[in-house]
């Protein structure tokens, strides 16, 4: 039986720079995976390469059994991939509710119609779930970044995803907010059963929340396993703290 998500040898080269070097990642449906790595390790490039924003130089992506290597973002969205962005990309001149409605209209409810197990979701219920109800009629551009991140999660949820890619949702948040958002993600994951891949710099929170973590360094994957094992891996320690600390 083929894997739910099967990424093999994914490589991205920009001119002379190899941003991503033959990364493999295979996942079953419903896994909760974290991705960590020092700055410049290629984590966001990884997301960009699998979500259709950058064409991979080499390698394959199989999602739900179909080869979707290099497919454009709209195809991937309809296949069930949703993502958030490091710097939130919301439609600033639309209201919070209109942003979520956009996701519902163009991918979410379309996917739900084809999915016999799902019922159409309403904008209001989604906003309530993410605790954004009271901002529904405000312009998305006027929200502080933390709330825009929440909005992006609401939009991703509205897309009825089978795979959720979260890119540094905790950046710039206070410790309490980070814990809250981690808990929210874990809850949503539990409720919906989609696969989550979460890139994060706040390593501690991530390690406590996910079931499995992969580590990238200089574009290559150097570790992949349970958080406890990975945190003891010498290569990983070396990558973060230098080789003296590993010894």
């Amino acid at each position: 039986m083929s894997k739910f998500l099967d990424i093999r040898s994914l490589t991205v080269r920009f001119g002379g720079l190899t941003a991503l070097n033959a990364v493999d990642l295979a996942a079953d449906e419903g896994e909760f995976i974290g991705i960590i790595g020092p700055n410049g390790a290629g984590k966001t490039t990884f997301f960009n390469a699998i979500s259709g924003m950058v064409k991979p130089t080499a390698g394959t992506l199989r999602f739900c059994g179909t080869d979707l290597t290099g497919a454009p973002p709209c195809v991937l969205a309809h296949a069930g991939m949703a993502r958030t962005f490091q710097t939130p990309r919301v439609f600033g001149s639309l209201t919070v509710a209109e942003n979520v409605q956009f996701a519902l209209d163009f991918v979410g409810n379309v996917r739900r119609r084809h999915d016999s197990f799902a019922e159409a979701k309403s904008c209001g219920s989604l906003l309530e779930r993410i605790d954004l109800g009271r901002y529904a009629h405000l312009h998305a551009g006027s929200l502080p970044p933390a709330r825009q991140r929440q909005l992006e999660i609401a939009m991703a949820l509205a897309s009825h995803p089978r795979l959720l890619l979260l890119d540094e949702v905790a950046a710039g948040l206070t410790e309490a907010e980070v814990k809250a958002i981690a808990a929210l993600i874990r809850e949503l994951w539990g409720e919906h059963g989609f696969t989550v891949i979460w890139i994060e710099h706040a390593v501690n929170v991530l390690m406590r929340t996910v079931d499995r973590v992969a580590v990238l360094n200089f574009g290559a994957k150097i570790a992949d396993g349970k958080p406890a094992d990975v945190s003891r891996d010498t290569q990983v320690i070396e990558a973060y703290l230098g080789d003296k600390a590993a010894a």
Binding site: G52, C74, A77, R89, F91, S93, V107
Partner: protein
């Protein structure tokens, strides 16, 4: 019904009845005004929300005009007008496939250039296959027919503009204008949506070209593919307000009047004034007159009250 709808209804009735008044000057003025209203509204349909500045309007208009030049007398009038629109759509589809992949500046320049290209092509065809430079328009329909045709096409353009803007496609176009990549990640197929918008807006320009062609007793590629047409269209839309309905309509009225009185007496100076006007409006009123937030000073106060509480 709202005051705006009532006004539109009354205007529509008056405009429709105009030919009965036997006032050729007023009718001619109204005709020009309706033509530009139709052109401006159909331009704003696509270029307004997506911010892809199309400069192909002259090409669409000219293609429609040549459908009339070639088809008049051989086909019934409504068919000729429809064909004019369809010829524009076919051209829009072809150039759209190529140019809609390109970024803003390139899109504008290439649509402009392709317009010039079509002009050269038609000139070449006319000379080589028909042995002529221009054509004399014979068997033209009555001026009342032309007037009503333009009125209907313009009204259709306005209705489509409003309906399309409210539809799913309209929202998709706006999403593309705000952040095309992001819209794609939310399921919008940018190429398909852009093509649809572009072709839809081109139909009206083509149909208007087909209808207006009979106004000139003699047409040649130079007259009907005149870049001034797209210039005036863009000017009206930008000054009036590219994202509103009322804007282009009011703009069309204002500029048609201005044109009537200045164009023949001071043609070059008139164009220079228009150019200056376009620049000034982009600099100081980027959303046009109708799009300007006249409530701005008040708006700032009310917006501060509604601002989100700081974390």
């Amino acid at each position: 019904m709202s005051p705006a709808t009532a006004l539109v209804f009354i205007a529509g009735v008056l405009l429709g009845a105009l030919p009965a008044f036997e006032a050729p000057f007023a009718q001619s003025l109204a005709l020009t005004c309706l033509m530009y209203a139709g052109l401006a509204v159909s331009w704003s349909m696509f270029s307004g929300p997506t911010r892809y500045l199309s400069l192909a309007t002259s090409a669409f208009f000219g293609l429609g005009a040549y459908c009339t030049a070639w088809g008049l007398g051989k086909l019934p009038w409504p068919v000729v007008v429809m064909l004019g629109g369809c010829a524009a759509v076919a051209f829009a589809f072809l150039i759209g496939l190529i140019t809609l992949r390109l970024r803003g500046a390139y899109f504008a320049v290439i649509t402009y250039g392709l317009g010039e290209l079509v002009k050269h092509t038609i000139t070449h065809i006319e000379k080589t296959y028909f042995g002529t430079v221009g054509r004399v328009m014979t068997e033209t329909p009555s001026s009342a027919t032309v007037y009503w045709t333009v009125l209907v096409v313009a009204a259709l353009a306005v209705w489509t503009y409003v309906a399309f803007g409210r539809s799913r496609w309209g929202h998709a176009l706006r999403g593309i204008g705000m952040d095309e990549e992001r819209a794609a990640t939310l399921g919008v197929n940018p190429m398909r949506v852009k093509l649809l918008g572009f072709c839809l807006s081109s139909w009206f320009a083509g149909a208007l070209g087909a209808a207006m062609a009979v106004r000139w007793t003699y047409i040649d590629p130079h007259t009907v593919f005149n870049p001034f047409i797209v210039f005036q269209t863009v000017l009206i839309s930008m000054v009036g307000g590219p994202l509103t309905v009322g804007g282009p309509l009011i703009g069309a009225l204002a500029f048609s009047l201005l044109s009537e009185f200045l164009r023949l007496s001071l043609p070059y100076l008139y164009m220079i004034i228009l150019g200056v006007l376009l620049i000034v409006s982009v600099l100081y009123l980027p959303d046009g007159i109708a799009g300007y937030d006249w409530k701005k000073p008040w708006g700032k106060i009310t917006r501060r009250k509604a601002q989100v509480e700081k974390p």
